[in-house]
């Protein structure tokens, strides 16, 4: 298992009660695995069905394999401007 920290913002930070959470994933876990793990956290069941995950500031699709050194973040729908 590898340890991954995920940054949360705005509504998602409220849902999960923190601006950053940790998940334990199997080696070679994908972005989809990470999102599934986030759903098991308290409040995680309220996340939408396909939240946007970004790795090192770029959006990734579910099949992308993650590395523990990646900077991960879950982004609610953007509302700047």
């Amino acid at each position: 298992m590898t340890h991954h920290r995920v940054l949360l913002f705005a509504r998602y930070a409220e849902l999960l009660g923190a601006g950053e959470v940790a998940v334990e994933l199997s080696h070679d876990a994908t972005a989809a695995d990470c999102i599934a793990a986030l759903r098991t956290l308290p409040g995680g069941d309220l996340l939408p069905s396909h939240p946007v995950l970004v790795r090192n500031h770029a959006i990734v699709t579910g099949a992308v394999v993650l590395d523990p050194s990646d900077e991960l973040a879950l982004l609610p729908p953007l509302a700047g401007g």
Binding site: V54, P76, L78, G80, G81
Partner: protein, 137 residues
Amino acid sequence: MAFLTSDLIDAAALSRDVGASHHGAITTFIGSVRDTHNGRAVVRLTYTAYHAMAELECAAIVREAESRWPVRAALQHRVGDLQIGDAAVAIAIGAGLRDEGFAACRWVIEAVKRRVPIWKQEFYADGTDAWVDPVTL
């Protein structure tokens, strides 16, 4: 200069940044805090950002605007607590031709809304608040 700021945005300074002796057309856009949203009275709001990514995206947007058109572009987005009337975002484009200035200015504001990780929490006169979902205006 950072693209995100918790201080008041100085739009005139952005215009000066993109002005040049060969850029005769300066187009700006300022989006400011309105006192109502969907019929509800807004008293203030807070912008939250994924700072590192937002800075990178803003830089990329400026770079792309300057490669699509022969213009100079400047951009700032406010974060933190804003009052009614405060500028939330300001864009300035210095161009030789006004066609290109208007096109680039319009493109940058749409790109900011679509790409920069920033979120808005509105606080209403009735004491409630809400994270605002993006709306197509």
